[in-house]
Subunit: 244 residues, 2 copies
């Protein structure tokens, strides 16, 4: 983990950009902390960190106020990272299907999402290794993220994650429904009921599939980026309850 | 409103039993309040106030700590009140259908629920008149209740209600889905995902039908009475946000 820049935000949060091999990322830590603080991995939406930054830094500030560090890394194929092989074809197929008003086939969803999941999950685990090697970070780990298939697999394969906030609203490959049954950590799932680009029934089916004994679904009105403030605060309380 | 008994609970809550005509009820008020406090109408589950008391007083204590009064009244046909005509036949039909593993018909649901709604809703409005005539009570009114069809109609016909917490988990007559479209106040709907006696899809359909621009669904694991503590707290925060 190589820090490339550092700035103090006005509310006592230290923001550091870093690279981890070829992967850029951002770490936010509360400056006032005297003991190591638990990290929350902020999985970004697949729009590139630059575009997602305002939303991410908002969540980072809230988490810092609760006494947590947060970190995010650029997803494969996003931002300045090289495109993933095959996904440009999948995106073209997706657009064609949607323009024609056809249902999006499982083949298109697999081709679109699985290469991203396959590459992103090991990168998040490497990032977690690096974060936990920092003296200022330690304790139970949370995940809060934007591509629900990545969060689902990470919750299965990464035993250091203690609780996860997941955002419904992206296409879900069939295999991820199977993996969801193996998730056992407490889950807090956010669903935007009117999300135009979202298959609401698929989100409800995935929520049902999760194997976790403690799981909660918070559905709210509005589109993809319209998560109400109280819903964000509830997600923060969920993480605070499980990471403290 | 005729008070019949009065006791002080250990956390500064005054509990008064009352009758309103033939209808018994309970009023809880925070003793420390110096100005009139907003009332929350606590719709009981249809099991009689005596059996529901432990759950109701728990919610009353939390509401009092937030600075609210709460009141509940015995539902028609519950507790010591006379049975509603026709509902014993409907209960028998319901049991027979369920024992036979048959779907519960709309006719049974209508016969079971609509007489209760028709009689209960005007009683709640009369209770609200009486409550708001007390000098210690005033301000925006909340509803938080156990029979979702009663809460739905009350939210439509009673303009003094500013926000409602509704509990999914009882049979819903077809006409209530129509009335739901006319609800406009902020709603917070609790759904126990594994509730054996509950039609989950009907609950999701009703949530979808509500006309409110602000509505949130909180689904949690567990059976009918297993609402987790954090879910109760979230419902309390919803009411506090809208009644203050």
């Amino acid at each position: 983990m190589h820090f490339t820049s550092e700035q103090r935000l006005d509310d006592g949060v230290l923001e550091r950009e870093f690279t981890l091999g070829e992967v850029p990322g951002i770490l936010w830590t509360p400056e006032a902390a005297s003991a190591p603080v638990s990290p929350i991995l902020l999985g970004p939406p697949p729009v590139g960190l630059r575009k997602a930054y305002p939303r991410l830094v908002g969540r980072a500030r809230h988490a810092a106020a609760d006494g947590f560090a947060t970190a995010t890394i650029e997803l494969p194929g996003n931002g300045d990272r090289p495109r993933l092989p095959g996904t440009e074809q999948a995106v073209a197929d997706l657009r064609r299907a949607m323009a024609a008003g056809e249902p999006v086939s499982d083949e298109i969803i697999d081709a679109l999402v699985l290469p991203l999941v396959d590459k992103a999950v090991p990168e998040w685990r490497t990032a977690l290794d690096a974060l936990l090697s920092l003296p200022e970070i330690g304790g139970p780990v949370g995940y809060s993220g934007g591509v629900i298939s990545i969060g689902t697999r990470l919750a299965v394969v990464e035993p250091r994650i203690s609780a996860a906030v997941l955002f419904a609203g992206s296409f879900i490959p069939r295999v991820i429904f199977e993996e969801a049954r193996q998730v056992t950590v407490p889950l807090h799932v956010l669903l935007q009921w009117d999300d135009e680009g979202n298959d609401r029934q698929a989100a409800l089916d995935l929520f049902h599939a999760f194997g976790s004994r403690e799981k909660t679904l918070h559905a709210n009105m509005g589109g993809h980026t319209g998560v109400p403030q109280h819903a964000g605060e509830a997600a923060g309380r969920f993480l605070a309850r499980h990471l403290r």
